[in-house]
């Protein structure tokens, strides 16, 4: 529908300009942004969150664009973790639609498949999620405005060690993001003076988490780090945690924002109260920049949809793109855009200060330690500690060959 409407709009515009014989000097510069996201299928929820953030930024800030510059978003659906589809869509966006930017991408393998397209076409590729640590190295035309699991899991390990906890336990879902989370937590925790009692990888999906939680209880650690996909798995873990009385046994559960997803909190209920997690964004944050974002979100989408870190990553990615357009007046090539993007920084992301590391083109951002608390009768991730300007620790531990 939208494409059709756009097409008709464009057609009408073209006819109108013919009729009025507008001289070409006044013609608009159109900046096309190809967004590859997951719009259909069982995994479309994170894609939807991201797209809402992207659309919202464009809606709020189109007025700030230089005169005569117009931004067009072209959405394509990769249907999930399908790198072959994602790469083809990127090729088509470049060769058929002649986009100026590639953006979006929920899944790491999809981003990795698109990377060579960006390199060959010399088109900036703004990754707004796809959190696999090495991905930014795959093309000099990539910047990332999201996070890596190392970036989020290390600070919680560091924080746990600082609490004086000595014995740590890690239980993660048995897939690549789980390994990254485990690596981030255990490395930072042992570096801070703790020792790991055990490291467990839980098959995914798992219908019953009780045996795993019981095993944690039996090994009597001070702190347990758990990473499972958000949604029913996370809720099941927390339910088992409460039922088996681990809190009373003196074990603290820590995790990342992926497990304590803002939009899932209403479904979790009381079990998520008191859970400590590390995250780059909580929609309960009291920063002025976040209030502006939340107000814009609610006036655009109503009180129903709840923004989470995916939405903010989309918002910030568009912010970077808009800054390129504003600084160049809409006239730039891939090289020039990359020069601006790799040095991009802002103080008013809903996440607080945010920057791109020129050396790695990956994000530098604050990581907040949050606790699940009831605020005005609603469960929220309340930030109570900040670890400022975190860079991806994986890249520091694994320098490029």
């Amino acid at each position: 529908m939208t494409t059709n409407a756009k097409f008709h709009g464009a057609l009408a515009g073209a006819l109108l300009s013919l009729v009025l014989l507008v001289p070409p000097a006044l013609a608009q510069t159109e900046i096309k942004i190809g967004v590859i996201s997951t719009l259909s299928g069982p995994t479309s929820q994170p894609g939807d969150e991201m797209n809402k953030g992207i659309d919202l930024y464009v809606k709020e800030h189109t007025k700030d664009l230089p005169a005569g510059v117009k931004v067009t978003l072209i959405y394509r659906d990769d249907t999930g973790a399908n790198p072959d589809v994602a790469k083809r869509l990127a090729q088509e966006l470049v060769t058929r639609e002649h986009v100026n930017f590639l953006a979006g991408v929920v899944w790491s393998p999809n981003a990795a498949a698109i990377a060579p397209v960006a390199t060959e076409a010399k088109i900036p590729f703004i990754i707004m999620n796809a959190a696999g640590a090495p991905i930014t190295r795959l093309s000099p035309y990539i910047i990332r405005t999201s996070f890596t699991l190392w970036l989020v899991a290390s600070p919680i390990g560091q924080w746990a060690a600082k609490q004086g906890w000595k014995k740590g336990y890690s239980a993660v879902s048995d897939y690549a993001p789980g390994y990254d989370a485990e690596g981030g937590f255990t490395t930072a925790f042992t570096k801070g003076g703790g020792t790991m009692v055990d490291k467990v990888r839980i098959p995914f999906p798992t219908p019953d988490y009780v045996p795993y939680i019981q095993k944690i209880k039996d090994s009597k650690p001070d702190v347990a780090f758990i990473f499972v996909p958000a949604g029913k798995d996370a809720t099941a873990v927390m339910k088992a945690w409460n039922d088996l009385g681990l809190k009373q046994a003196g074990v603290t559960l820590v995790t990342t924002q992926d497990v304590m997803l803002d939009e899932e909190l209403p479904n979790m209920g009381k079990v998520a109260e008191g859970i400590v997690s590390a995250g780059t964004y909580s929609n309960a944050a009291t920063r002025a920049s976040n209030q502006i974002f939340i107000n814009a979100w609610q006036s655009a989408y109503g009180a129903g949809p709840i923004p989470d870190f995916m939405s903010v990553q989309g918002w910030d990615g568009m912010h970077a793109i808009f800054d390129v357009i504003k600084q160049t007046g809409g006239k730039f090539d891939g090289e020039q855009a990359m020069k601006i993007l790799s040095n991009w920084k802002t103080d008013d992301s809903p996440r607080g200060p945010l920057a791109i590391d020129p050396a790695t083109r990956d994000v530098i951002e604050n990581v907040y330690i949050r606790r699940g608390e009831m605020v005005n009768g609603k469960l929220a991730n309340v930030e109570f500690d900040t670890i400022p300007n975190v860079k991806d620790p994986w890249k520091e531990a694994n320098p490029p060959k």
């Binding site: 494409t3 719009l39 790469k87 470049v94 060769t95 990795a112 498949a113 690549a176």
Partner: protein, 337 residues
């Protein structure tokens, strides 16, 4: 029996049967149509070659699935297992310095064929639902293995760092998909020649016999199990080649190549075209993939609905797929004449 008695009518019948048999292998002009269209697409739709290359590779996958499902009657829900084995083989080689695409294809065929042989040895001893479940199990087990063996496959992040060298040392894979298109077309053509020869051979006829009446084939002394095993292995190798084609053009392999989802989709595609017809894949795969591409461009959020509607219509009104529908129409035209 009085064989010596002259019987003119019977003689004429025998002659025509011989003629039919002799003509069976002959290439009908219609059979060149897919290739004419494929070459035409290159010149008429130069912007759609990336999609075109994927359609061609998937057609090869469909052809391989049709060999087991349509000809041998082995109902499988796990054919992606071999497609994925091929993709990972080509991917692993390309990520470890063996980037020649043709070498990747041959290795993929060998590994996927071996996987087909080994799994076939076990699962082809069963029938019906048990067989169906076991094909599913092979696929799921391989996918879980690929998820766990991150040092080889990269797990959910995908097998990265593939460096595919130019085809035959000369044709580099380009952004527009020119090389990918011709490369996939050439491989599909070879696959088609092979499959066509196979199904028209006496071996191919015996497969159809097994599909139609196993007991009778046993009774006339056909080694049923070994025939099935051979075709299963061949089909697995072909699926592996198709997977390798996709891996080489994408230059990345992820777990989706081993998914049950994909195994089901390929069946839907060939059922759409027509099962057991050799050309079912040539109609069904392009139809499904082009419809998917068009619907998802026009309506990126709700395109699944339209493709579902298309499937419902075809399954309700064209039982033998699109080709079956065409057959029925032709028959009606001839009948009314």
């Amino acid at each position: 029996m009085t064989i010596s008695r002259p019987e003119p009518s019977r003689g004429a019948g025998a002659k025509s049967a011989i003629e039919v048999f002799a003509r069976r292998h002959r290439l009908r002009p219609m059979e060149l149509l897919p290739w004419v269209i494929a070459i035409g697409v290159y010149f008429v739709f130069p912007d759609y070659l990336a999609l075109g290359a994927q359609v061609l590779a998937t057609t090869l996958f469909g052809l391989s699935a049709d060999l087991v499902l349509g000809y041998a009657g082995i109902v499988t829900l796990g054919h992606a297992a071999f497609y994925g084995m091929g993709a990972y083989t080509a991917g692993y080689l390309a990520a470890h310095g063996v980037g020649a695409p043709v070498v990747g294809l041959v290795a993929a065929a060998a590994v996927a064929g071996l996987a087909g042989l080994l799994s076939g040895l076990v699962i082809l001893r069963t029938q019906g639902l048990t067989l169906l479940m076991l094909t599913l199990v092979v696929c799921v087990m391989l996918q879980e293995a690929a998820n766990k063996l991150t040092s080889i496959t990269g797990g959910t992040d995908g097998l990265q760092g593939m460096e595919v060298s130019p085809v035959l040392g000369y044709f580099r894979f380009d952004l527009y998909g020119n090389t990918a298109y011709w490369y996939a077309l050439a491989v599909l053509f070879l696959g088609w020649v092979f499959a066509r020869t196979l199904v028209y051979s006496s071996f191919g006829r015996s497969l159809t016999g097994i599909r139609e009446n196993v007991t009778r084939m046993h009774a006339i002394g056909t080694p049923v199990f070994s025939r099935l095993l051979i075709v299963y292995t061949i089909s697995a190798a072909m699926a592996g080649v198709a997977g390798a084609l996709i891996a080489e053009t994408t230059q990345l392999v992820a777990l989706n190549v081993l998914s049950v989802d994909l195994s089901g989709t390929i069946l839907v595609m060939i059922i759409l075209g027509g099962v057991g017809r050799l050309y079912g894949a040539f109609v069904g795969v392009p139809l499904y993939m082009i419809a998917q591409d068009r619907f998802s461009t026009i309506d990126p959020v709700y395109w699944y609905f339209w493709i579902g509607l298309l499937l419902v219509l075809i399954v309700s009104f064209a039982r033998g797929g699109v080709l079956g529908l065409i057959d029925a129409l032709l028959r009606r035209l001839r009948g009314s004449r």
